[in-house]
């Protein structure tokens, strides 16, 4: 028994770089790669879950999605929702990080309160937003009216639904961008700032010509990280509108879920999911290139 144990110990000593990561890599392979391969296989089949066997149909699912109006609607909603929310989160996140970068009395407490939404369970807070946004008795309309503004239909109107969902997303996720950018700001070199101050540069000039170019790679990294979740936003939209009214807030991702788990069309749903993955991939490849270019400068 003892010899077996010491033999294992010797093996670990010699091959640590293999033994240590192996269990995690094997488990990740089983739980991540196998489902993805299975998902790719399903894209070439027609199959209603629970009925018969998958039938191979080649690229028919991908051909079908070009003629599907809900796919085009999904892409449009996705671009609108993500474009607006990512832009606002990045701009506000940077602004608030600059604010926190200057230490002041009580900034610790303010920061602790400010980041609460980031950890809060998305479904739970989205339900509270849903209550607050109720057009008839919600507190949001009460607040609007008490400062003399007209009430809004919020998520009940096709025109207002995306901006309203963006507001909730910004509320929940801007703290994440702030935390990342703030860490970046803290690691910036001091020399350029001192030189600029000696030359008499204004605050705005310092921001525009020094801070912004230096922080650009971090901003793009934050945008990439946020985009991984934002392009696949599910909890907030599903809880507040379920894609409604009609399909006015149905992103491509939400539609792929509906096809898979309400219509039980495994093949077509899988094909839609692959399209979502490709959008996320292309966006991140472009951003990664931008990040590397901005680092050279």
């Amino acid at each position: 028994m003892k010899t077996i144990f010491s033999a294992i110990s010797r093996f670990v000593d010699r091959r640590q770089s293999l033994v240590f990561p192996a269990p995690a890599v094997i488990v990740l392979f089983l739980i991540v790669i196998i489902p993805i391969v299975f998902n790719l296989y399903l894209t070439f089949t027609k199959w209603t879950i629970g009925l018969g066997q998958p039938r191979f149909i080649g690229f028919d699912n991908f051909i079908e999605l070009f003629g599907d109006e809900r796919v085009w609607n999904g892409v449009k909603v996705m671009v609108y929702f993500s474009g607006l929310s990512l832009t606002l989160e990045l701009a506000l996140g940077l602004l608030i990080a600059l604010y926190f970068n200057r230490a002041f009395k009580g900034s610790e407490i303010v920061q602790a309160i400010y980041i609460i939404p980031f950890a809060a369970t998305p479904v739970a807070v989205a339900l509270i937003w849903r209550i607050m946004l109720n057009p008839e008795i919600g507190v949001m309309n009460y607040l609007l009216q008490s400062v003399g503004l007209p009430p809004s239909l919020w998520v009940s109107s096709a025109a207002m639904v995306i901006p309203t969902l963006v507001m909730v997303d910004v509320w929940k996720w801007t703290p994440m961008i702030t935390l990342i950018v703030l860490a970046g700001l803290k690691s910036l070199p001091h020399d350029p700032y001192e030189a600029a101050r000696i030359d008499g540069a204004s605050v705005l000039q310092i921001f525009w010509y020094i801070t912004l170019p230096l922080i650009r790679p971090v901003l793009i990294a934050a945008l990439m990280l946020r985009s991984l979740d934002n392009l696949k936003e599910f909890d907030i939209i599903y809880t507040i509108t379920q894609g409604g009214p009609g399909i006015a807030s149905e992103t491509l991702y939400l539609y792929s879920y509906t096809v898979g788990f309400s219509f039980f069309k495994a093949g077509y749903g899988s094909a839609l999911m692959v399209v979502v993955f490709l959008i996320v991939l292309v966006f991140n490849v472009i951003m990664n290139r931008l990040r590397h270019e901005s680092q050279v400068v």
Partner: protein, 270 residues
């Protein structure tokens, strides 16, 4: 004069940043403390006699204790497994610069969750594992393991290697030096990784929505179901949401300083 102007600026900013999170949180708690009728009256009532009736109902009518327990079990299991498997892996990635392992983690992060869900649903249905802790824990690992590994890589990288070298010279095996020397040095990192992993498993909705059932329903699904019991029980939602959100908010408060390393997943360096 400039000083006064500056402090006015900072305190206006502080006020503007604290109001949105606090307002939603206070509204959530107030909704839980109001009666059903108070919750649907307009204009909304800001002053009222609070009642704990909703919290009682959430536990007695909706059996919420069971769901809290389910979430606790699944989040603890997913976190424990992620740490046991992820700590040695992260250590090895940091020490031997095994950046290729990062690719599988990046794929895990980029793939839409629904893409895992459909195959897992089919596989678990076939294995009769729907509505079991195993099924939910396995799928939660897809989120928690990459998070633990990347968080810990940055902690291991910033650790000095001298102590470990000394241990090896003194005759420690690799396992002994890892368990007795290295892990205690990064205990802050481990605490952060564990709490982040727990929070993200606790908050996970999509996997549980499809793969859980009456026996293993987790709290996000349980509170979501409050709107599908015919009419919406707003007071119940307020009470349940408070019970779900408070624990993770308190956790996040303690790790807020090191959270950023878990988020950036090494993206800040190259």
């Amino acid at each position: 004069m400039v000083k006064t102007f500056k402090s006015i600026f900072f305190y206006t900013g502080a006020f503007a940043l604290c109001v949105p999170p606090l307002f939603v949180f206070i509204w959530m708690i107030l909704t839980g403390l109001k009666t059903g009728i108070q919750n649907i009256s307009y204009p909304p009532e800001f002053l009222f006699t609070p009642t704990l009736e909703n919290f009682r109902a959430v536990f007695q009518q909706y059996n919420f204790f069971r769901y809290l327990l389910n979430s606790l079990i699944i989040a603890t299991l997913a976190t424990a497994i992620s740490l046991v498997l992820g700590l040695p892996a992260a250590y090895s990635i940091a020490k031997y610069r095994q950046n290729k392992i990062g690719i599988i983690i990046l794929i895990a992060r980029m793939t839409p969750f629904v893409s895992y869900l459909l195959p897992w649903y089919i596989i678990f249905r076939y294995l009769k594992l729907i509505d079991t802790y195993s099924a939910l824990t396995i799928t939660h690992l897809i989120i928690t393991m990459p998070m633990v590994i990347w968080l810990m890589v940055s902690f291991f990288e910033s650790m000095p290697s001298e102590l470990e070298d000394a241990a090896m010279i003194d005759g420690c095996s690799r396992w002994q030096s890892f368990l007795l020397i290295v892990l205690p040095l990064v205990r802050n990192g481990i605490a952060t990784a564990a709490i982040m992993s727990f929070i993200f498993s606790w908050n996970q909705f999509l996997f549980s929505l499809i793969l859980s059932g009456p026996k293993t329903k987790t709290v996000p699904v349980a509170v979501y179901n409050f709107i599908s019991y015919g009419k919406i029980d707003w007071a119940g939602i307020g009470a349940a949401a408070t019970l779900i959100v408070l624990p993770v908010s308190i956790f996040a408060f303690f790790v807020r300083k090191s959270i950023v390393q878990g988020l950036t997943m090494g993206a800040l360096k190259d």
